[in-house]
Symmetry: C2
Subunit: 125 residues, 2 copies
Amino acid sequence: MTRSATILLAHGSSDANWLAPFTQLTEQIRSGLDNDEHPLRLAYMELAEPSLEHTVTELCQMGVQQIDVLPLFFAAGRHLRRDVPAQITALESVLSVQITLHPPVGLEPEVADAISHVVLRKLQS
Amino acid sequence: MTRSATILLAHGSSDANWLAPFTQLTEQIRSGLDNDEHPLRLAYMELAEPSLEHTVTELCQMGVQQIDVLPLFFAAGRHLRRDVPAQITALESVLSVQITLHPPVGLEPEVADAISHVVLRKLQS
C-alpha cells in the first residue's frame, strides 16, 4: 500500500508572530483527524522552518511515497503558480515521491463565507 | 456626524490571478451590507492598485474622516506590525483623517474553523 501524507503549506515569515497562528491552526486540524497514521505536517515556502524541502525529505525517510500539499494561501499568484511547482519538480527529481499541489484553501467558498461574516459583523458592530 | 468608511486591506501581488478572488470577496461582502452609505473599499498594501494611500486619499476627498482598516491577512507579521502602521502614520500626518488598523481577519476563530473543515474534508475524501 502506498503510504501517503499531507503538508499544509504556508508562505512563511521571519516574524514568529506571523507563524504562531499557523501552528495553532495545524493543531486544531490534527485534533479533528481520526486517523493517526496519516502524517499531517505544516511547512513554509520561504523565510521559516521547517521548509517544504525539509518536510518532504523527512516524510520520504519515513517511507511516504505520496504527498498532498494544501496551500494555506488566499489565492494562487506567482508563488503557487511558479515557485512552489518548481520546488516540487526539483524534489520529485531526487526523491521517490509523488507530490500533488492542490488549489489554495484560503478562499474556498466556506472560508470566503466565514471571512464575509466576520467582516460584516465588524461593520455592523 | 463623522463620516466613516472601511478598507479591506490585502497584501497585493503583481499577478492578476492572485488579485481576482479578493475582488470577488469584496463584492460578496458588499452584497451583504444593508447600509449603502458606508463606503467599503478594497486596497492593496503593495504591488497592486488601488494602494492604501490612493484609497485613503480618495475617501478623504469624499469627506470621510474616520477609516477602519480590516486586513485580509492570515496573521500579523512585519507588514501589519511595522509597514502598514508606518503608512497609516504618514497618511494621518497629511490628511484630516483618523485611521484604525484592526487585527487580521484571516485566522479569526470562525475563519480558522472554516479552514479546518475544508482541510479535514479534503483529508477524508
